[in-house]
C-alpha cells in the first residue's frame, strides 16, 4: 500500500524491465528517497574503498623494510607491492560472478576475512615467497571479492544519483591515502614490519563490517537461483560498446598511474627536497579526493550526459599529463600536480557510474569485474613502461608525454560510445534490466529499443 515503507517502491530508471522512465521523474508517493539501508551501503562502500586502496598502497610503503629484512633486491621485493594490485584487478570477474550467485554481502564479508588473513599470514613469513603468496595472492584475492560487489551494490542502490554516490564512495581511497602517509612509518618504527603487517591485518578485518553493511536489495523479479554468471559474462564479451569502454580504460590506466608512481622521483629530478616532494604528493592525493566528490556531484544532476562529463575529465587528465614536463620549478610542478590530481580523481567515479550507462544495471557487477580485469593489463604495464622510458631518455619528459598520449587515446574511444552524441530527450537511459540478459545484444544502440513512444 502506498505510504507503507514496505511497499516495493520501484525507483525510476532501472528496476522494472521495459519501463522507459527517465531519471528525475517523480517518485511514487510515499516512497522513501532511497531503499532502506542506503546510508549503510554508502558507509560500507566508503570504508571498503578506504581499506582496499589503503591496503594495496600500504604494501607499497612497506617495501623498503621488507627488502632489508630479507636482503632482497628492489626488483624482487617490488612484486610484493604489485602482486596484490594485480590480484585485485584480475580477480574482478571472480568477485562479480560470486556475488551475483551468492549475493554481494556474503562475498564481500568473506573477501574481508581472506584479505585480513593474507596480511596476517604475511606477518609470519620467513621467506619472500611466503609474502608473494600471502600478501600478494590471498590478500589480493580477498580485496577483489570486496571491491566489485561493493561498487556494484552502490550502483544499484542509487540509480538516480549514481555518480554522486560513487564519487563519495571512492573518495574513501583518498582519505586513506592521506592517512597512510604518517601512519605506516609510525607502525613500522614502533612494531617493525611484522608487527605492522599484523596490525594492518586487524585493520583490514574491518572489511567484514563494511561488507555486512551491503544489505541485499529486495528486487522483485530477480532470483539468484540458476548461475547466470556465465551468460552474463559471455554476453558482455560480445557487447561492442562495453568492449570499447573497457579498452578505453585499459588505455587510460596505462597513463593514469604514471604521475602518482613517478611523481616523487620527478620532483626530486627538478630539485625539490624531501619536504617539498612530500608536499607535492600529499597535495595531489588530497585534491584527488576532492575531484572525486565534485565530479560525482556535477554528474549526478538529472539529465546530465554522463559520458560527456567522463570524456571531458579524461581528456583534461591527459592534457595535464602532457604539460606536466613543463613544471620545472616547485611552484610550477605543484600547480600542475594539483590539476592532474583533481582531474584524475574526477574520472574515477564517472568511470564506474558510466559502466551502468553502457551496459545497464542488471549486468553492472559483471561489467565492473570484467572491466577491472582488462584494466589490470594497462595498470601493470603503465608505470614500469614509464620507468623504462625514463631510463632510456634520461628524464621523465617522454614518460609523461606517453602517459598523456595514452589518456587522450582512451578519451577518444569514449567518443565512439553510443549515446555520446545523441540528444537528451529521455537522456541516456540504460537498456532494460532483465534478470536474464538477452543472449545477443541488440544490434542498434540499446536506447533505440527504449525510445518512449510518446
Amino acid at each position: 500500500m502506498p505510504g507503507s515503507p514496505l511497499t516495493p517502491c520501484v525507483p525510476p530508471n532501472s528496476w522494472t524491465p521495459g519501463s522507459p522512465q527517465t531519471p528525475g521523474s517523480p517518485r511514487p508517493p510515499g516512497c522513501p528517497r532511497h531503499p532502506p539501508g542506503g546510508w549503510g551501503v554508502l558507509g560500507g562502500a566508503f570504508l571498503q574503498a578506504a581499506l582496499v586502496s589503503g591496503g594495496v598502497r600500504a604494501m607499497g610503503l612497506c617495501l623498503r623494510p621488507l627488502g632489508g629484512a630479507f636482503g632482497a633486491r628492489a626488483g624482487a621485493v617490488a612484486w610484493v607491492g604489485s602482486a596484490p594490485l594485480a590480484a585485485l584487478q584480475l580477480g574482478g570477474p571472480l568477485g562479480s560472478a560470486l556475488s551475483t550467485r551468492f549475493g554481494a554481502r556474503p562475498v564481500a564479508m568473506i573477501g574481508g576475512v581472506l584479505s585480513g588473513l593474507g596480511l596476517f599470514l604475511g606477518a609470519f613469513a620467513t621467506h619472500l615467497t611466503h609474502l608473494y603468496l600471502s600478501v600478494g595472492l590471498l590478500a589480493g584475492l580477498g580485496w577483489a571479492l570486496v571491491f566489485t560487489p561493493s561498487l556494484g551494490t552502490v550502483g544499484r542502490y542509487f540509480p538516480t544519483r549514481r555518480s554522486l554516490a560513487t564519487g563519495l564512495v571512492v573518495s574513501g581511497a583518498s582519505v586513506s591515502g592521506l592517512a597512510l602517509g604518517p601512519l605506516i612509518p609510525l607502525l613500522l618504527d614502533t612494531y617493525g614490519w611484522r608487527g605492522a603487517l599484523l596490525l594492518l591485518a586487524a585493520i583490514t578485518f574491518n572489511l567484514v563490517a563494511a561488507g555486512a553493511l551491503l544489505r541485499p536489495l529486495p528486487i522483485p523479479n530477480e532470483s539468484p537461483g540458476p548461475p547466470q554468471d556465465q551468460p552474463g559474462l559471455v554476453g558482455l564479451l560480445r557487447h561492442g560498446p562495453f568492449l570499447r569502454y573497457a579498452l578505453a580504460f585499459v588505455l587510460v590506466d596505462v597513463g593514469y598511474y604514471v604521475p602518482f608512481v613517478h611523481g616523487a622521483a620527478r620532483a626530486h629530478e627538478v630539485g625539490c627536497d624531501q619536504r617539498r616532494v612530500a608536499l607535492v604528493m600529499a597535495a595531489m592525493a588530497g585534491v584527488d579526493g576532492g575531484g572525486r566528490v565534485v565530479a560525482g556531484w556535477l554528474a549526478a544532476r538529472p539529465a546530465t550526459p554522463l559520458l560527456r562529463h567522463l570524456f571531458v575529465w579524461v581528456a583534461l587528465t591527459g592534457l595535464t599529463a602532457l604539460v606536466l614536463p613543463l613544471g620545472t620549478s616547485f611552484e610550477g610542478l605543484l600547480t600542475l600536480a594539483l590539476t592532474y590530481g583533481f582531474c584524475a580523481g574526477a574520472l574515477v567515479p564517472l568511470q564506474f557510474a558510466g559502466v551502468a550507462e553502457v551496459v545497464g544495471t542488471g549486468r553492472l557487477i559483471h561489467a565492473i569485474g570484467l572491466m577491472q580485469m582488462f584494466e589490470s593489463f594497462g595498470s601493470l604495464l603503465g608505470a614500469p613502461f614509464a620507468g623504462w622510458l625514463r631510463d632510456v631518455t634520461g628524464n621523465y619528459t617522454v614518460s609523461f608525454l606517453a602517459a598523456g598520449a595514452f589518456l587522450l587515446a582512451g578519451s577518444l574511444l569514449i567518443l565512439t560510445l553510443p549515446g555520446f552524441f545523441q540528444g537528451k530527450e529521455g537522456s541516456p537511459a540504460p537498456p532494460p534490466d532483465d534478470p536474464e540478459p538477452p543472449p545477443d545484444p541488440p544490434p542498434a544502440p540499446p536506447r533505440a529499443a527504449l525510445d518512449p513512444a510518446v
Partner: protein, 220 residues
C-alpha cells in the same frame, strides 16, 4: 684554533635539512694576511663559499644519507689548520622479534673501506663479533666493497642493544652506530586483538540494527 691542532665537531641530523657550516677565525689571528680557506669533502673541493671578514661558510642541502660524512675547512697560511665537521644521520632502531632473523646494513659513502668489523656492546664494552666462531648465530656478508651486512639469527632478548660497524681505511677508522630492539610477539598482539574485537562488535551492531529496523517496518 692554534697551529697544529685540529678541531672536530659532530653534528647529528634526524631528517633531511638545509645546513650551514662555518669556520670562524679567532680575532687574535686576524692580523694574518692573504689567508686561503678551502672547504673540502674528502678530496673534493667545494665551491660557493660565503665569506665575511673572518668567517667562511658553506651551505648544504642534506637530502639523503649520501651527503653525510666529513666536511673540512682548511686554513692555509704559515701553518695549515683545519676543522672537521662530521655529519651523521640519526639512526632509527631496527625492530625485530624473538626467534626472527635481523639484518643490519652499513654503507660507506665516498670512500671504500679496506675492511669491516662488527661490534656488539656488552655493558660498556665493545666486543668484536666473530662469525666463524658463532656461525649459527651471526653471519657477516660483504655485499659489495662499500656495503656490509650483519645477520643475527634466532634472536633473543639478550640480542637487544647497540651494535657498531667499523670501517677501516688506510688512514683511519670510522664507526657507525645501529640499535636493535627485540620485541616479543605479545607487543603487537594486544592492539591486534583490540582491533579484531572492535570488528566483531561492529558487525554485531550492524546485524542487530538491521533486525531491529526490519521489525519496526513489520510493525508499522
Amino acid at each position: 684554533g692554534v697551529s697544529g691542532t685540529s678541531v672536530e665537531k659532530n653534528i647529528t641530523l634526524d631528517s633531511a635539512a638545509g645546513i650551514e657550516l662555518s669556520c670562524r677565525l679567532d680575532n687574535k689571528y686576524s692580523h694574518l694576511k692573504s689567508l686561503q680557506v678551502t672547504w673540502k669533502r674528502g678530496n673534493e673541493t667545494i665551491r660557493h663559499i660565503n665569506k665575511t671578514e673572518n668567517s667562511w661558510s658553506i651551505q648544504l642541502w642534506i637530502l639523503d644519507n649520501s651527503k653525510l660524512g666529513s666536511y673540512s675547512c682548511t686554513l692555509k697560511g704559515e701553518e695549515e689548520i683545519s676543522a672537521v665537521f662530521l655529519l651523521q644521520g640519526k639512526e632509527k632502531p631496527i625492530i625485530s622479534y624473538e626467534g626472527d632473523t635481523a639484518v643490519m646494513i652499513c654503507k660507506s659513502f665516498g670512500y671504500t673501506p679496506i675492511a669491516w668489523t662488527w661490534y656488539m656492546t656488552n655493558g660498556s664494552e665493545q666486543i668484536a663479533i666473530n662469525d666463524s666462531l658463532l656461525a649459527d648465530k651471526y653471519v657477516i656478508n660483504r655485499i659489495s666493497a662499500s656495503v656490509t651486512h650483519l645477520k643475527i639469527l634466532k634472536l633473543t632478548k639478550e640480542d637487544d642493544g647497540v651494535y657498531w660497524c667499523e670501517a677501516a681505511f688506510e688512514l683511519g677508522k670510522s664507526k657507525g652506530k645501529l640499535q636493535l630492539k627485540v620485541l616479543s610477539l605479545m607487543v603487537p598482539l594486544k592492539p591486534f586483538l583490540a582491533i579484531v574485537a572492535e570488528v566483531v562488535i561492529l558487525v554485531t551492531i550492524v546485524f542487530l540494527y538491521e533486525i531491529y529496523s526490519k521489525k519496526k517496518e513489520k510493525r508499522a
